[in-house]
């Protein structure tokens, strides 16, 4: 899922302090799981902002809504009838949701309430780590399910490098060497011969480095 972190409340206050009618829009998917922008976080943020503005002596209307997702037309349409009541929408969805809202509702300012970090997993409650960088050409079949693009600091395809020490990466003692993990896993799977086969040079044009991307499926287009 997409992992995000809520912005510091001081930053959020700076973004919304000039408005009098704020709608805080949460998202029921990824940001709920990483406890950054779900219904609970919307409620807490709304309460905090209400108290902040009351303390300042400012009369601000703050409403809450949590959409199923903010990356699909149907869900964003749900707020069409009410959005004109507000001067600004503080979206706690990932960057995707904030942008889609802004595209849909061009006359209402949309501001982000979270910093979108990466695509990753929940290792345990409160700890999320990166697993995928959407490189567009998945080679996990060759690397025993461990991604060298997102987990190797040098994104090596035929690692490890000389800096791999005791299974840790040379840039950070806490960071596992992805290639150590790959080799260990291939060993467990009894497929260490796969490691001997060289992986060819990657075509990076499918990665973000090749420009903003799009997927079109003519077979499902209406």
């Amino acid at each position: 899922m997409i992992v995000a972190k809520q912005k510091d409340i001081e930053e959020i206050i700076e973004e919304v302090k000039d408005y009098n009618k704020i709608l805080i829009a949460g998202c029921n998917e990824c940001v709920t799981v990483c406890e950054a922008g779900g219904k609970k976080e919307v409620a807490v943020l709304a309460s905090a902002l209400r108290m902040y503005f009351m303390n300042q002596g400012k009369d601000v209307k703050i409403d809450e809504v949590t959409l199923e997702r903010q990356c699909d037309h149907e869900y964003l349409e749900e707020i069409r009838k009410m959005i004109d009541q507000y001067d600004v929408v503080l979206s706690l969805a990932c960057g995707v949701g904030v942008q889609f809202l802004a595209e849909k509702y061009i006359s209402t300012p949309i501001v982000p309430g979270v910093d979108t970090c990466f695509m990753g997993v929940t290792e345990e409650r409160g700890v999320w780590s990166e697993r995928c960088q959407a490189c567009g050409q998945c080679i996990l079949a060759r690397t025993a399910g461990i991604c060298p693009v997102s987990r190797c600091a040098k994104r090596l395809f035929n690692g490890p490098c000389g800096g791999s020490t005791k299974g840790k990466c040379e840039i950070d003692k806490e960071l596992d060497c992805a290639w150590q993990l790959i080799i260990d896993r291939l060993k467990e799977l009894g497929r260490l011969d796969d490691y001997e086969q060289l992986t060819p040079i990657k075509d990076w044009s499918t990665e973000r480095a090749g420009g903003p991307r799009k997927v079109v499926r003519e077979d499902v287009r209406q």
Binding site: I9, V44, S47, A48, R50, M54, N55
Partner: protein, 117 residues
Amino acid sequence: MRLQYPTNIKIICLPCTGKVDLIHIMRAFEKGADGVYVAGCLEGTCQFNTGNMRARKRVEQAQKILEKIGIGGERVQMYHLSSSEAPRFVQIAEEMTEKIMALGPNPIKIAGKKKAA
């Protein structure tokens, strides 16, 4: 034991302090509470394992937020005691009351009165 404790305290009973959520604490202050304290079981004695420790974490979260928005993090506190420790309960009630009296009323109430005036 028929002990006396300050009358300005409203008690909300819960099966476990693990049921206290951050939003409950926030709403209490939003509605004008001057202070909130969560009295949970002693560490290690929670019947539901970690309810009291979860409450502690949530109280700490609340303290951070309240400090940042200008209400004051010291207005919310977590206490651990056994349900049989009546004198401790009284001591906590008095301690909290004293602390909140020293801090003064919830700034929102003052700001509200200023506006009305």
